[in-house]
Symmetry: D3
Subunit: 257 residues, 6 copies
């Protein structure tokens, strides 16, 4: 099966890292296709950038020319998953939800350790909407920006591990979710220092996507994620002539038939 | 004061109608500027269209060349408000929240009557995130599409009033919110048939925006709605050269200083 | 329009101060009528005093001889608003709810800074009942009694600002509500020290009451706030002969017709 | 031990009936003292009347000249319990909470069947504030006014039993609480028709009050229910000279020492 | 009346202590029968032991040869109460719920102080399921194991009182529940040090069980706690021949008739 | 890898059917080991039977002589999962939670269709404790007993499909979970009649267990699911001499080292 793993920022090295994480978690026979959005910010650390990423991810997936079996949105706490679900019949898995859902099988409460303080409310809001917040002990910020994870990995490790330790000791977390697509490499160090299981959202999402595909499950088209109704859309996408009809999109076509 | 009232769809006649509603609610001395998004769908009735509208509204506001005092996002149950709040220091008011917040001063519980069944979960989700759902009795769909409100107003009135009556009788609503930017004209008929107060979101939003401006209140920049960090954004906006820095935007500049 | 702003305690100097706050927030053409309850405690800092204030405010409003367009109950965390809503068709706005509702347009979470520790649960309970608690980060007590705000303003400022700073830093509040009718004068100092928007409940309530009146909205009479049924009431009000019928009250008459 | 059972309305025949219910539930050695408020409405069916009852009950208890061991507030869904708790150190039991608390030991979910539709939100609000709503299946109105229970008992029984049956069948209640101080006599008939346990709030409150007294438990004076601070209260109570100090009250004295 | 008070662990000295607590709280004429489970752990401090206790308590009660009027499950935060309710028509009272329910009549919020940190989530889960968590300020662990309460009472007192003080000061508890069947003897010391009422679950459960019996209330048999359906059960109970039918049990018989 | 799939009832034909479902969902290389509990009821349809099953499942797993990689508890709405998690370090997956967790990736709301009405509260409680209830539209009973699924499959299909249709139409479910280990064969028919995705808990649990194992994730041993403390357990298990120490158990040993 083929799974598209779409980064939410436009930094190619992060797409590559996410792709490696995903591939490491994939079963034999699963092809991981890492994608970088066609437009958007070099890192996503707030709502404007996240909304831009939401639509960029959708257009990037729509422009992908080959068939695929599932899509992973590989940003933590980001907008847009519901839009992808409308456009596609194949399963769509968001890494924020994949990590939380997985953590809940392992301990009584989990915490998320993320990057900047300003992204904490975004993650809290996504977990609340997903109905996965009841067993969330805390969302904690390490203070490291997304790109710091690549430029100063030693400092990043220390900051992230420190917050994970606080989550376990003070917030009573029994599992830690690494709250950024770029943190996958830190799993071992956090386990070693905290003694609790650590969930990487990208890896968790890959196994969930594979599972849904293997079980033959697809996105429900009965109400919320029904395909967009055919209608006039102007000046979009940027590269198209104005005024295209959404039903021309091959991936949506099956659902709309 | 000048208030931008931004439609979420690209149907100019709806922008005009929303503008009239807004102007009717405005105080003397308030200039209402109705805006149509630069791109997007002719009606917004689902997540894909709503995410597209989110970013279209943001870019439309950013492109507005004159100073302004507040922005109203005139779509019901739509994504994007948080992004506008990051980009601006002036108040941003979403009509879904404005209607709910206003209704809560008038009765013990309120219901929303909206267009298509598929938009009900979007509105429920927005109210949940806004923390305004505890006294929401129900969100009910009339089955009328957004553009039906213009093309077949008689049927629309009947369908909407019927659901409002059910909300009052069966769901114990004591106030009705009209859940679509294009329903403003129906207020009187719904009052007459249900006997309860009816809140039009656009009108409510205008008075709230005016109030916030008069009280000198601005969007908090302390965490969630801090201005976007300066960073590289590629291939965006569509008409610009690739690679512009967000801090160049005049409206965000004050907040970032 | 004429708005009654009813203090909940019987200290005339506080009524005057509240009246000034309200007048400063009012639009041209709005007449603010500050009222002191006919009976009750010199400050309201607990449930007994608050219940006494509830009924005193109602009787004071009923005894007001002229027409009016809205009523503001200017006590923080007090009982009684629902009773006023039954007695009147014009809008009734409680400052606790007005402040919370306003703060929610400005930041992701808000905190309330109030007077004595013992009043914290009252405010929490009012916000919970009003369904405005989901985005409340905390209610914090400064330890200053209501009358200390007048007698020792320097100490009051320091105590209040200190708690506001803690709310922003520790509780992640992005907006501060000043939780006492007598705190209005402190707004500037709290803004200066915390950097976040500060909402004064009296000012917020004035703009909300004006907005409701301008929009022609009145209290729903369909169930919870239906006028009291005509019935025998004995030994009340204190100044009347025993056994009067509520329907004689001029303000309720319209609603009961 | 002596327990004051305070009716919330001024209809003496209802006080007598409540007193009989209470006495029937009391242990040997318990003296039940039924009290009628010094002022107020002949029946309490809304917020204005309930707030008036709140303060009338408090003044009636304060005026009671003998020692007592506990107080029962015998109105369903009424305001005021917190005020009594401030004024007294002996336990205060509200029948709404007593019934719910008792029902929760008997079945997975309970429903309340009450009088008029307009009182449903009051009961719901009281249960919410008391934190006893999570297992409440529904609050249903029989449409009978409080005084109808005495004037037309046959119709009352039929209306109440019908709603109880609906609660069991449609709302999945496993226990029924009779939601009015005057419904005590209907217990057997509701049991017979529904097959589920039926809780009368007055009887439940008597056993809870006795239990608290026997265990030596008193109202916590640490924060919310601390005695009122000594302060000037003007024009209250109606029969007293203006300006009395609350600490003069004998029942509160112990708590304030 | 006769009340079975069933310890959840197999330490006879704890059964005896619990029996003494229960007897001290019982009314004249109530016979307290302390029972030790037929099998299970010497102390219950986790889920495996608690599930084992759940079924051991049920079998122990089923094997009790005489009639009885109520059962108290005297373990804090344990599984099993719903099973007993199915098997019996007489009331079943769990001490965790009895303590919480009682505490809620005394203060605005309560805390539980228990033994080991690992049992905190069990207690939190039981309160959540019982719908008694809304006013729970915290569940705090003293770090003392169940058997330490007997072997080192001085250290136990100090550890428990320290946590109670923290609950009152930091978590804003106004009442303390002692969260272990073996803590009953500490009540006075905790009151003395914290100044707030202290509830012992065993004593509270005795008065609640007596109250339910006196009021003639029994477990609802309408759905959740209907008697088990007659069916084949193999290899159980351990001492019986395989394949017995549950309806042979005398206590369940009435309910199944 | 080897996964134990433990039936909760003692009907061997159901164990076999569950084993087939599990095997059908398993990846190549996964060995499914279906187990029937050593003791217990022929079907589990209530709390007594479920508590008995809880401990029977634990003892059955403890008695399994070979190594294994994960355990699936294959009963819907049953007690006991937390006990297994204490006893083991390998992942434990409950099918109720597996189904809910999976359904939440496919639609906005899901419903469960189960067997008897009396089991609805058990499933609701399990979902509430698991924190997976926020997006549960309803739990509906078909009225078919567990063993009817085998004895009268035609009637079972009709009853189950009818409730599924109601869940989609009336409760707004977008996904259906089949709420009984024995319903796996009905998936296709429910899909055909409702048009929404249908999740079988056993199949979902297999893919989740495989995913956790592949990701190297194990049960957190930091607090709630720490291994039982070494202590004396009397008269248990039935076949053992009294007084064995739990730490002798091979599966727990690693965790306790």
């Amino acid at each position: 099966m083929r799974i598209l793993v779409v980064n939410v920022n436009t930094t190619e090295s992060m797409t590559a890292a996410i792709g490696l994480s995903a591939a490491a978690a994939a079963s034999p026979g699963t092809e991981i296709v890492p994608l970088t959005p066609l437009f958007g910010a070099e890192s996503v650390e707030g709502n404007y950038e996240s909304y831009l990423a939401a639509i960029a991810v959708m257009e990037t997936v729509r422009a992908y020319p080959e068939p695929f079996d599932a899509v992973i949105q590989a940003g933590y706490g980001e907008h847009g998953r519901e839009g992808l679900q409308e456009l596609l019949t194949v399963p769509v898995v968001d890494i924020t939800e994949a990590a939380a859902s997985t953590a809940m099988f392992l301990g009584h409460k989990y915490s998320v350790v993320t990057t900047l303080d300003r992204t904490v409310p975004l993650i809290e809001d996504r977990l609340k909407l997903a109905g996965l917040d009841a067993r969330c002990a805390s969302v904690r910020a390490s203070g490291m920006a997304v790109l710091d994870l690549e430029s100063d990995p030693a400092a990043a490790v220390e900051a992230i591990v420190t917050e994970a330790e606080r989550a376990v000791r003070d917030d009573r977390a029994e599992v830690i979710c690494l709250g950024c697509g770029g943190m996958a490499g830190l799993t071992e160090q956090v386990i070693e220092r905290t003694g609790v299981p650590v969930v990487d959202g990208v890896a968790a999402a890959v196994t969930i996507a594979e599972s849904l595909v293997r079980l033959g499950l697809t996105t429900s088209k009965s109400r919320t994620y029904a395909p967009p109704r055919p209608k006039r859309i102007v000046n979009w996408p940027p590269t198209a002539a104005p005024g295209f009809v959404l039903a021309d999109d091959p991936h949506a076509a099956a659902a709309m038939a």
